[in-house]
């Protein structure tokens, strides 16, 4: 009786997610094995592994894979390290603590397209941007961020967006830290660093796992920031897998190759997820 109710309550979610996973995925698998170019309708013969070969020998393939991983790892590093540091910094009361918290988490509410447009134009523009103005005032040559450091520019934009999320989660977690334990440690002569290292960091291990997990989901799929700012360029310098596949499917109309690329992206996501769950999984509440 109880079991059947449990199943009944879970059924809608499980069924919907199952359909959401299986239907598009099997269609993608099918498309990846046929010739399917929107410019040549009706010529959909079976081609086996050709689409995969085509995708993996694309000059953009290796840069896209490495850019995807570099983007993922750098943003994870930046947001987790700075997130822990900043949330520890604003944990103790000080003047305007609430306001500082509001300012710090605000970038999370900014949509990726706006984020990219602000940074691309008003911050990083080599002539009229704020950064260029600062460089000039210091007597330095302005940097053309998007052309000279395209991937780094994207990393900056994405980190700016996700650092607040990390701060949000860590601030929440720090509120539940045992203050008596901290005071006891202080009485025993522990320095601020020791308290941070041996009490705060361990306390944050689970929230860190949560942040890494959720951010990975979104970071593997970064799209809008690249679409709006660098367009993947120059060359393939800031193309990630998502953008490369988008290019195949929508700009070259080659659905077959794009589907093969999509499957590769799924595979990569699974590999990352596998290592991730091994690394942080034991810290997740499941």
């Amino acid at each position: 009786m109880k079991r059947s109710i449990t199943r009944l309550l879970m059924a809608p979610s499980v069924i919907l997610l199952l359909v959401w996973m299986i239907v598009p995925l099997s269609m993608t698998i099918y498309f990846s094995t046929i010739r399917f170019n929107l410019l040549y309708p009706g010529q959909n013969n079976f081609v086996g592994w050709m689409n995969f070969e085509f995708f993996m020998t694309d000059p953009g393939f290796l840069p896209a894979v490495s850019n995807t991983l570099i983007l993922l790892l750098s943003v994870l590093m930046i947001t987790v390290v700075l997130g822990v540091a900043l949330s520890a910094l604003i944990d103790k009361p000080f003047f305007g603590q609430g306001m500082v918290r509001v300012l710090l988490i605000s970038p999370f509410f900014i949509m990726p397209t706006v984020n990219a447009l602000i940074w691309k134009n008003m911050m990083m523009n080599p002539v009229y941007g704020v950064f260029a103005w600062i460089s000039q005032s210091l007597g330095l040559e302005p940097i053309d961020w998007l052309s000279d450091f395209p991937l780094m520019s994207v990393i900056i934009m994405v980190s700016w967006q996700w650092l607040p999320f990390a701060i949000l989660v860590f601030v929440t977690a720090l509120q539940s830290q045992d203050t008596e334990q901290k005071e006891a440690a202080q009485m025993d002569g522990a320095t601020g660093w020791h308290i941070f290292r041996y009490l705060t960091i361990p306390h944050l291990s689970r929230p860190i796992a949560v942040v890494v997990m959720i951010e990975t989901i979104f970071l593997l799929a970064v799209f809008a920031e690249i679409f709006v700012s660098t367009g993947g360029g120059p060359g393939y310098d800031s193309t990630n897998l998502a953008y490369l596949i988008y290019n195949q499917a929508l700009l070259q109309y080659d659905v077959g190759v794009a589907s093969a690329g999509g499957l590769f992206a799924v595979l990569l996501a699974n590999i990352v997820a596998f290592f991730l769950i091994r690394a942080v999984g034991k810290n997740l509440t499941v």
Partner: protein
């Protein structure tokens, strides 16, 4: 150097860390502040070097944006898709999370991980099928398609967050309710929901924010009719010249509702985003 007593020393330390925190917060907030300021400038002031801080504010840009891209229509689309899909996802997700939290089996952990893993499927991997399916069902450029996709997209995270909350609820209360003859439905509505209203609302908040800012599907599946604000903004990215003031006005309009919403709810968010990380 003047000797400070312990109290003064502590005050001084608070002052230093406080100022440092303020400095970083202002730096991180600067791009948003700058976008907001620029939206009140003329195009000429927007690109002047050195940047002008004092100027006569104008509202022209906002009028032009409304006229050129019908802001209100896109804002309406954003509201409908983000609130609608969050509402539906909660209706589907609450019972599932409840069932898993209160009647866990050996498979519960696997099911949760599997649900999360569906989020690991990169959207771009299934872009073409979803595009074709939407086309065949006549749902291209429709709010319905976005609501369906957003619902499914956020369902795993919603279930996971709710699960963590429900799991931390004191079991004794439920058992007491059951002793008093409460049906499972009573249990959810009269006991679990009131106790976890905080958790549910922060889950809803996060979902609304994620939907509002979702850009991949809205860029690829909508054209004009159903386009939410994320897609409207992308139309300002075309390099047709430097129109930063208008761009800023459009951006400010697109973000203002969710930023203000977020500010009002930030306390709730900060208390709620525990993901079961708090015992």
């Amino acid at each position: 150097m003047i000797m400070m007593n312990l109290n003064q020393q502590r005050k001084f330390k608070t002052f230093v860390t406080g100022s440092f925190a303020w400095l970083i917060a202002l730096l991180l907030f600067f791009p948003i502040f700058w976008m907001f300021i620029t939206s009140f400038k003329t195009e000429l002031q927007a690109i002047s070097i050195p940047p002008s801080l004092f100027f006569e504010p104008t509202l022209d840009n906002f009028a032009i944006v409304q006229e050129r891209s019908d802001y209100l229509k896109h804002a309406f689309n954003s509201v409908v898709t983000s609130f609608g899909s969050t509402f539906i996802a909660l209706i589907i997700g609450v019972p599932a999370a409840y069932a898993m939290a209160f009647n866990p089996t050996r498979k519960t952990k696997d099911i949760l991980l599997w649900m999360l893993s569906t989020k690991m499927l990169p959207a771009v991997g299934v872009l073409v099928p979803i595009y074709i399916l939407s086309r065949d069902f006549g749902l291209l450029d429709s709010r319905t398609a976005l609501v369906i996709i957003f619902t499914l997209m956020n369902l795993p995270i919603i279930i996971w967050m709710l699960f963590s909350y429900f799991k931390d609820l004191p079991k004794e209360i439920l058992e007491a309710a059951r002793m008093d003859g409460a049906t499972p439905w009573d249990e959810i509505v009269k006991v679990v929901l009131p106790l976890s209203i905080g958790g549910i609302s922060s889950t809803a908040l996060l979902s609304i924010i994620l939907c509002w800012n979702e850009a991949f599907w809205s860029l690829n599946l909508t054209a004009s009719e159903a386009a939410p604000l994320t897609a409207m903004i992308a139309s300002y990215s075309s390099p047709e010249g430097l129109f930063w003031a208008k761009l800023s006005a459009a951006s400010t309009l697109a973000c203002a509702p969710i930023v203000v919403f977020g500010w009002f709810c930030q306390k709730q968010l900060v208390q709620g985003l525990t993901f079961g990380a708090v015992k």
